[in-house]
């Protein structure tokens, strides 16, 4: 029995015995390589569920939709390790109560889908711990190294070219589970910190603000990268900031529900190499 069939059976059980009121999973999309988010509420709908190597989107963002968890009922959700880390961060930032989440964990290795054992977020903590150990040697984007070898002027020119294409559709923000602010800083106009027009300066500022607010919170799921209609390599910035935060403060995002947000906590002996 494939992992998909195993999980279908499990979802039908969860729904019929009332443990969860809804399961968020994937269903087939318009083309062979696309998967759509699916909200399953009855055992019959569970037949539409699909679980294969194309199910890469991080669905945890749907858990903070307004009112979904307000009735204290539990919700099931298919998550890969990056999604589970997102749940930990959202719980640590008091956006949801992790006990309300029944995790149907899976991971994709090459073309294979493997089930992860565990149901509550805390069941996966040593798995996330091992991911953290492997993080420094994990294969980095060759582009990241290429960018780091550039001089500041070249890097500025590179990002200037990339950000000039941005059309401020905010798909990167809306696709990210960490961007749940009711009114984003770019939408507040008293004062207007960041230019909202999508000229290159406005796009530069927006992408810097987005990357800054995700430092130490991004789990590298790539939702933003895939959502961008003009294919700006957004993940590179967030990957770099994750590296930075791990190196400077040994902070790996989404370790547990009680992990303190990196910019909301401090250590007296934090490094300060650049302060005059």
């Amino acid at each position: 029995m494939t992992t998909q069939e195993q999980y279908k059976k499990r979802v039908k059980e969860l729904l019929s015995n009332g443990t969860v009121k809804m399961v968020i999973g994937y269903k087939a999309g318009t083309t062979a390589d696309r998967r759509r988010p699916l909200f399953v509420r009855t055992p019959e709908e569970a037949d539409k569920l699909v679980l294969d190597s194309a199910c890469i989107a991080n669905l945890s963002g749907y858990l903070v939709t307004e009112g979904l968890l307000s009735d204290e009922k539990r919700v099931g959700i298919f998550l890969r390790p990056d999604g589970i880390r997102s749940i930990n961060i959202l719980a640590a930032e008091a956006q949801l109560n992790a006990d309300q989440i029944v995790i149907l964990g899976f991971d994709i290795v090459g073309q294979e889908v493997t089930a992860l054992s565990g149901e509550k977020a805390t069941d996966f903590s040593e798995l996330i711990g091992s991911i953290k150990e492997k993080a420094p040697e994990a294969p980095q984007n060759p582009q990241l190294e290429q960018l780091e070898k550039m001089t500041p002027k070249e890097r500025f020119a590179f990002w200037q070219a990339e950000f000039s294409r941005c059309i401020k559709c905010y798909a990167c923000r809306q696709a990210c589970p960490m961007c749940y602010c009711r009114r984003c800083i770019v939408d507040s106009n008293q004062p207007q910190w960041v230019n909202t027009s999508s000229h290159t300066l406005g796009n530069f500022e927006w992408n810097i603000v987005r990357a800054f607010h995700l430092s130490g919170r991004c789990v590298g799921c790539g939702n933003c990268d895939r959502a961008c209609p003009v294919n700006i390599p957004l993940r590179l910035i967030n990957a770099k900031m994750a590296q930075e935060v791990l190196g400077a403060f040994d902070h790996f995002s989404g370790m547990s529900e009680t992990q303190e947000p990196v910019l909301a906590s401090f250590k007296k002996d934090d490094s300060e190499t650049f302060i005059l």
């Binding site: 960041v194 000229h199 530069f204 603000v209 910019l263 934090d270 005059l276």
Partner: protein, 149 residues
Amino acid sequence: MSEPFEPNIVAFVCTYCTYAGADLAGTSRLKYAPNVRIVRLPCTGRISPMFILKALQKGADGVLVSGCHPGDCHFTHGNYHARRRWTVFRALLEFTGIPLERVKFSWISAAEGAKFADFMNSVTEDIRKLGPFDQYKELIRETEAPATL
């Protein structure tokens, strides 16, 4: 020879230490470059990276952020938070190609009037050598130009 380039520098400083240090520099009749416009804030913990972006957006050639030494903070840990924030924001500026020499961070206590004055002079000279922040000014000019297509 055209007159030397006079950089526009904005400094965001905390009231209880660096601003007081600036006062001390003034009362001690210390001379320092007039290029720095000082913006006073209650604490470095209140200085958000938005301020730095807004200063650059308005055409500043350099930005300074300065406050109390760790441990001296009037609000006990404002500067500790600021330090983390600066570390992260600085890495971000570096990665996007904004030269780090243009955004400087420092601790200057209320007693360090001399350090404040020297710091003002040294930063002004550094940025004068770097010249105007042309890359960003080019972006600003683009926002003021008529549509091209």
